[in-house]
Symmetry: C2
DNA sequence: CTGAAAGCGCTTACAG
DNA sequence: CTGAAAGCGCTTACAG
């Protein structure tokens, strides 16, 4: 049986408005009545109807998280599941619901504006690679709070990220420290800010060490394309003794495939990967990794968003350190 | 600017009730007015307020997915991210929202009843390992539709699962076909139905082949505990030439660690894992795997739930085949 | 076909 | 402190 505030008021012989006040901890109710009301509410497991509350309140107590719909999730290893879980947990612990939103691939640009209009969420967490200038404009105009996971060139706005350049430098430095000199860089989509930052870090570190930093390949994350590109790349730079790979998950495996096919000696060849993934450490050769604190970032995203919702001012930029494992 | 039905009615000079009918494609509106109303609605990007609609409708157009809050997600490899993504996508494509619910670990049993009372979702997808008899009872009483991902001993109810026993038999058969004779079984929590079914499959297949099937270890999925257990297990059964591992993700890696530590020759030793994970195929030795169609299962879960919500009768059991890769 | 009215369950001024 | 009333935005009988 689902009880409404009306029924509680009948049981306790008080007006609904008084029940509402008592239940919401507002003042203007005698302690005696409040206790009685709370007792009954507890007893019948009263829970306010979320929609009625949202409608009256103009507040849904729900935040939205946009996730990529094409979902080449394998790419990101456990990135997404950890991120989602962290956000869900943090949101729930703050009495917020989490709505997962998968943009319609046919018309991704409409998604955001629909969400805004529906008023189904109080705020939005958006992965930076999924946000467009148009989205930002629409969100700003509507006054819907949002934060980004990852920095984005399209908006100077509250975002959480890992120190991309720094991580790339540390990885490159680790390769150099191991004696590698002719290091190539395999990077993802060059339009993505994090790709640019990581490549930048690689180049700087190489330059500082006095090594050439011209062997750079940008590729999509698709397996076929990557492998084809790697073949040409290794032919163009046959003297490479190590590779800095700017993205984790399964991406490095595609590359390793080709290296094996080309008979590289992976025990001697150096590999450094931005992103960590337990399986790397079970390979028969060493891979240097930079792990991202994904869980922490998800929690920070959520906290920042809730601050925005509460009209507070969260840090506009939260940067987290990577941790090198070699 | 957020437009309400009221404003649309003012612009078009029609009553709100008529606008509502037009917008919802109900009959009782002249085609002329309907067109005009739709035109305006389109123009101003009208989207009905989700909460108001839910309140009037007694229907939220939102389904909930319960996810484990302790999240040893790494265990499941990409299981969770693929499942969540598949469900989100399918739900969204059917105009449903997906709410991710992370039970409060302090009081997990209250979560379900709170959800029921809040009336924030029209139905629930629950992983079978997270459902209790009490939950089922509460859901039934409240009449809230739900489906389970995975079969559960606590309820004969609409569920989607992989053919556990069959998959286990196929894996065991594959090991036997490779010439292994003294095969051990490392299983997860014995309270879980899928563990039982997989172990059963293993035992049957071994028995049919005329081999001993007494080397069985049940363990938690925790790394430390598993490794400690494996040490004792391999000492108790020093003659094993292969292992059937009943769960995938990173679990097998824990076991491999110990085998290496004990100087097993993994090129000769047989390994079969229930569950697939791309990284397995990059190890320097062969692992036989049974992959689960996680995405398909998520889609099926969603479809089944939506059928229940629409008062239709979905299949009470949808079983999917595993696919052996060796 | 069209619209005024009541209602979904809750909150929030506003009187008493 | 207490409660009657209006309102959140939408839907759904019910008259006209």
């Amino acid at each position: 049986m689902k009880y409404t505030i009306r029924e509680i008021s009948e049981i306790t012989n008080v007006a609904v408005s008084t029940v509402s006040k008592a239940l919401n901890g507002q003042k203007g109710v005698s302690e005696k009545k409040r206790q009685e009301i709370l007792r009954i509410a507890e007893k019948v497991h009263y829970q306010p109807n979320a929609n009625a509350r949202a409608l009256a309140h103009r507040k849904t107590s729900t935040i939205g998280l946009i996730v990529p719909g094409d979902a080449d999730y394998s790419l990101s290893g456990v990135y997404w599941s950890v991120l989602i879980a962290a956000i869900a947990k943090e949101a729930n612990s703050q009495k917020y619901n989490l709505m997962l939103i998968c943009p319609d691939l046919q018309r991704p640009d409409q998604t955001i504006s629909e969400i805004i209009q529906k008023q189904a969420v109080d705020g939005l967490i958006i992965p930076s690679e999924l946000v467009t200038k148009k989205d930002v404009k629409a969100l700003m105009e509507a006054g819907l709070p949002f934060v980004m996971q990852g920095c984005s060139p399209v908006a100077e706005h509250c975002c959480v990220d890992v120190k991309n350049k720094d991580g790339a430098r540390k990885l490159t430095a680790a390769l150099i420290a191991r004696g590698y000199k002719r290091i190539g860089c395999v990077a993802g989509d060059r339009k993505l800010l994090y790709t640019q930052e990581r490549v930048e870090g690689f180049m700087e570190e190489m330059k500082n060490a006095g090594f050439a930093n011209d062997a750079i390949l940008y590729t999509s994350y698709s397996k076929e394309e990557t492998q084809e590109n790697i073949r040409t790349f290794t032919e163009a730079f046959p003297d490479l003794d190590a590779l800095f790979i700017s993205a984790g998950g399964e991406f490095p495996f595609y590359i390793i495939d080709v290296l094996k096919e080309k008979n590289y000696d992976l025990h001697a060849f150096g590999l450094a990967v931005f992103g960590d993934y337990t399986p790397y450490h079970y390979l028969p050769y060493r891979i240097i990794t930079a792990s991202q604190p994904v869980r922490k970032m998800g929690i920070q995203d959520t906290k920042n968003l809730l601050q925005l919702i509460n009209k507070e001012t969260p840090p506009s930029l939260s940067l987290f350190d990577t941790e090198i494992q070699s």
